[in-house]
Amino acid sequence: MVDHSKKFQAVLHIVMVLLSLFCLIPIILLISSSLTDEEVLIRNGYTMIPRKVSLLAYKYLLMDSVAVLRGYGITIFVTAAGTLMNVLITLGLAYPLSRKDLPGRNILAFVIFFTTLFGGGLVPTYIMWTQVFQIKNTIWALILPGLLLSPFNVIMTRTYFQSNIPEEVVEAARIDGASELTTLVKVVMPMSLPIVATIGLLASLAYWNDWMNGLYYINDDRYFSIQILLNKMLMDVQYLQSTTISGAGSALAASLPSTGLKMAVAVLGALPMLLIYPFFQKYFVKGITIGAVKG
């Protein structure tokens, strides 16, 4: 019996190891390729293990490319500003909705929920943002359309408040004379760190990874974020060459390792999120499960 169950566990582990490899192998291929010498790449193609290591692609990207550094700057700013506003707006909607005594609560909840059922689609949205709000080729184009608020996050956060903040606690704060703002900041928020971390992570993920707003609304390269830059390079690898510090004619630009360079930019685009992720992972898994099960 014991032996049987051991065998069973071993089978399960084998399945999970295979699935993990399935997830990781493309990423290993990417990283390895970005570290491989250009000549070897041209001869052997992208491989799982670099046969000759070269850091030239990274050296070029980090030392000589204005576009990559500016892209990082744009992405970091947009992610920080967007996430902060997103979290504040989400809490602003979710907390009142979680209060069972709020008059008009059901109508307001419906107004939010309805946006998940029906939408105008890309054409009217595009025309509105470009014609009425004139956001084309401004930093607002990367922050405002679509990403500032997710109705699902509002519903998830409201559910979290309802099932984790006892009504008595809020009531007690009110009797003590605390204003609603004080109650929210000093009483409710400290009890809600997992959900705040979750929506913060989801929002920052959406901003960091966003390329659609860039595709729709940006064609001025001063506002290219990392993802838009990656998108541009996917179609045209020579694009980076035109943005070097030392000028297009320089020796480094001339020997541009374009095959490996592509992969190196992709690594730079993915790395920050992958590095932050393990620290948030605990909250993240907790958060999606709370929202999913009870939402």
């Binding site: 069973f8 566990q9 399960l12 399945v15 999970m16 993990s20 997830c23 990423i27 990417l30 790449l41 193609g45 992208y46 491989t47 799982m48 707006i89 989400t90 602003g92 909607l93 009142p96 709020l102 008059p103 307001l108 107004v111 929920f113 946006t115 059922l117 029906f118 939408g119 105008g120 689609g121 890309l122 054409v123 009217p124 949205t125 509105m128 009425v132 709000f133 405002l144 500032l148 109705p151 509002v154 204003s179 703002l181 960091w208 990874n209 390329w211 990656l230 998108n231 996917l234 179609m235 095959t259 592509k262 992969m263 992709a266 685009g269 993915a270 992720y277 999606i288 999913a292 099960v293």
Partner: protein
């Protein structure tokens, strides 16, 4: 007298909740702009769009835009692609996610279980642009892993992946599964892990094997979660992941037949071909049919299982 009291208490009540309403203002204003105004703008499908006059000032054209759209073969192709891909994604995605959730739950080694959870969520963290680089690493004709390291050593001919449509349905299904199965596995796992252990213990005493336990305890308990998740996916069956269908095939012309969906069609119409009329007609078609599908799916579930419906 009573009436005065009542209205006074109402004013008092509104006053008491005023701060809460103020908290909601930014979010409601944003939804008005980002979601509700474009909903009204959907009438653009019945207009001949003139950018100088705006959506509401442009002249009406009746159903002209729709006539043009449905006269082409495109309307059929984009509808077929959007729905068929989604159906495959839903079936494969759900089966994989439930299987992985059950396996995770059966694992006794908690440390390893956590590690697996972390790893299978990694693809979910990557932008579709990065994923398109990953796919390119495998499929690139001159330096891709498959052509250079698998086909060449076997003396097989190189395949120009980005020019041959017949491989793409499979490629897109694999990419979609790769990116999404971790996330949905975690959602199902959350339900599985919450199941009372005593059910399994008493089932084991009654002689139920592992498979029997899964089919008679785990799956029935998962039923509401499966229904809700599937319902949400079905209600989005008229929508596709724009990035998956536009970026992963690198917008390659020869692949259009199998990669064009409603969303890529609308984008190409609006931005690339400057054909706002047809794009807006396709967008209208998507919004309306999508909306009807949500209600249809919800109605069906309500009839089958009262408690599991979405609204």
């Amino acid at each position: 007298m009573q009436r005065v009291n009542k209205s006074k208490s109402r004013v008092k009540k509104i006053y008491r909740f005023l701060p809460l309403y103020i908290f909601m203002v930014p979010g409601l204003v944003y939804l008005l702009i980002n979601n509700y105004i474009p909903m009204a703008g959907i009438v653009v499908a019945f207009k001949k769009m003139d950018y100088r006059k705006g959506i509401f000032g442009s002249p009406w054209t009746g159903f002209k835009n729709f006539e043009f759209l449905f006269k082409t073969k495109d309307a059929w192709v984009i509808t077929r692609n959007t729905i068929c891909y989604n159906l495959v994604f839903i079936v494969l995605g759900t089966v994989t996610a439930i299987a992985v959730a059950i396996i995770l739950n059966e694992l006794k080694n908690i440390k390893m279980r956590k590690l697996y959870q972390t790893i299978i969520l990694i693809p979910f963290m990557l932008s579709i642009i990065i994923v398109s680089y990953l796919v390119y690493g495998f499929l690139s004709q001159e330096s891709g892993f498959i052509n250079k390291s698998i086909l060449a050593p076997l003396d097989l001919k190189e395949i120009s992946w980005y020019a041959e449509a017949r491989y793409w349905p499979v490629i897109l299904v694999i990419v979609n599964l790769w990116k999404g199965f971790g996330y949905s596995s975690i959602i199902y796992f959350a339900t599985v892990v919450g199941i009372d252990k005593t059910y399994y213990e008493s089932a084991a005493i009654d002689g139920a094997g592992r498979w029997k336990q899964v089919t008679c305890i785990t799956l029935p308990i998962l039923r509401p979660t499966i229904i809700i998740m599937t319902l949400m996916a079905v209600s989005k069956i008229f929508y596709s992941d724009f990035g998956l269908f536009y970026q992963i095939p690198r917008n390659s012309g020869p692949l259009i037949e199998v990669t064009n969906t409603i969303d890529t069609y609308v984008y190409r119409g609006l931005v690339k071909n400057n054909n706002v009329g047809m794009a807006s007609a396709a967008g209208f078609y998507q919004s309306i049919v999508g909306f009807l599908l949500v209600f249809g799916a919800n109605y069906l579930v309500k009839r089958l299982d009262q408690d599991s419906s979405l609204f």
